[in-house]
Symmetry: C2
């Protein structure tokens, strides 16, 4: 099955994904550590934004990072090499058809992948197959319906809604964060525990304003402008107002909120 990305593969996109990873690393990843000798699958590693953090935080575990895009894998591999990490191997694979035997991995780590899949249940079934009994699966996803901000703005909300519609048209689920608990529970994981990771940015947290409000969230919305206009989901003036109002939420008298969800369950 082909994966249809809304946020994708351009150079600007790669920068954005890197900024995002740097700012959010501690919030999302600091509590994921794998023991020495553990073999961990990272399906959908993309350009390796999470892979470097994962492998750095668990230096004595081994990671197999897979992606459908050879181009992304090449970038991921160069980043891992630049970080002088030797505990990651890369393979080009389809997450729906993994070439590993049942129970091959001790743990599975999934980040920002399920939101893009037309059938996340099928991918989860495949991840469970290659996970050993008693192993853990960690899933981190955002939720684009969780964003709110001051000053509030109909135009800004309409712009976000364009991203939501495009992601849905591509078969993804932009609201998957709130859905993780039932999704994982109903698809074979037990002892599922979901911990929301709330991002709150105001002028007292300038790094988050810059790194998240502007360079992650607003940049992500902004990146679909041409596509949104081509698909007649908006028109140029309304789009420009929406993006302007999103950047407005990064000023010193403004605030921005967004929620990621991190789920951990056991096979």
């Amino acid at each position: 099955m082909t994966m249809h990305y809304v946020h994708g593969y351009s150079a600007k996109e790669k920068d954005r994904l890197t900024d995002q990873a740097t700012t959010l690393t501690s919030l999302l990843h600091s509590d994921t550590r794998y023991p020495a000798g553990a073999l961990v699958l990272e399906p959908g590693c993309g350009v390796g934004a999470q892979t470097v953090t994962l492998a750095t935080n668990s230096p004595d575990a081994s990671f197999v990072a897979i992606d459908i895009s050879q181009e992304s894998l090449a970038i991921a591999e160069s980043r891992v090499r630049a970080a002088k990490l030797d505990n990651v191997s890369f393979q080009r694979e389809d997450v729906f058809q993994l070439p590993f035997s049942a129970g091959h991995f001790d743990h599975v780590f999934v980040c920002f992948l399920l939101e893009h899949l037309r059938c996340p249940e099928r991918a989860l079934a495949e991840f469970l197959r290659v996970l050993k009994a008693g192993g853990s699966m960690t899933v981190i996803e955002g939720d684009h319906g969780s964003a709110f901000f001051y000053p509030d703005s109909d135009d800004a909300r309409s712009a976000i809604q364009c991203l939501v519609q495009l992601q849905r048209q591509a078969g993804g689920d932009p609201f998957i964060g709130r859905h993780l608990y039932p999704l994982l529970t109903q698809n074979g994981l037990r002892d599922v525990s979901v911990s929301p990771r709330f991002v709150y940015a105001d002028a007292s947290r300038p790094q988050l304003v810059e790194g998240f409000t502007k360079k992650t969230f607003t940049a992500m919305v902004e990146s679909v402008g041409t596509e949104a206009i081509q698909h007649h989901l908006t028109e140029p003036d309304a789009w420009a107002r929406g993006i302007r109002d999103l950047y407005r939420t990064a000023e010193t008298d403004a605030t921005f909120c967004y929620t990621f969800f991190k789920a951990v369950g056991v096979k």
Copy 2:
């Protein structure tokens, strides 16, 4: 946020309400402790839902709890007496015209009040006047635009929107939580720090599902149904579908999210 407490008729019901109070209490109040000898103003104490917690957590501080409603004060006073607390005095006062001299209080604590005021800036100015230099002001408010849930539902969101519109028509600000940082910063407080308190309920947290999703948030929305229909903000069938869909988010395959904001600043 107005807390709608459904009075219990059974021991089990009473336990549930205690669980609710305990869970939210800890989330919102556990990090507020005043030192021995401190004199603390609680404007808008209402029926004393927070007063008992405040006075219990800081047994050697003294509290002056005020409200405009004599009826609410009587209930608050009886609750404080039932808890055998002797460090709270009650006065009927208007938050816009306090009978205290400048700098009378060491600290001010405000919870679920500003959202209801037509002019929160005027109340804040009065609180600042009676606060001594170097004293702290703590403000806790909800944000009714922060609610999201699985399964998502247009009807449920429309029902919440009725509450939002009614609160605005009454002069309040249902989205005040996200506004606290600029509001307090622009009105004379310094070193303002806002920490969001994210409520996340799924089937693994049955106390929160029962105590928050159903008995706090959905009950609060449900309580404005007659008024919303009278004001032609909705019609009975749509309203019933919205409330049904909100209760749907309390089932075992559902989730519910809401954010409170707690701000602390210094005069």
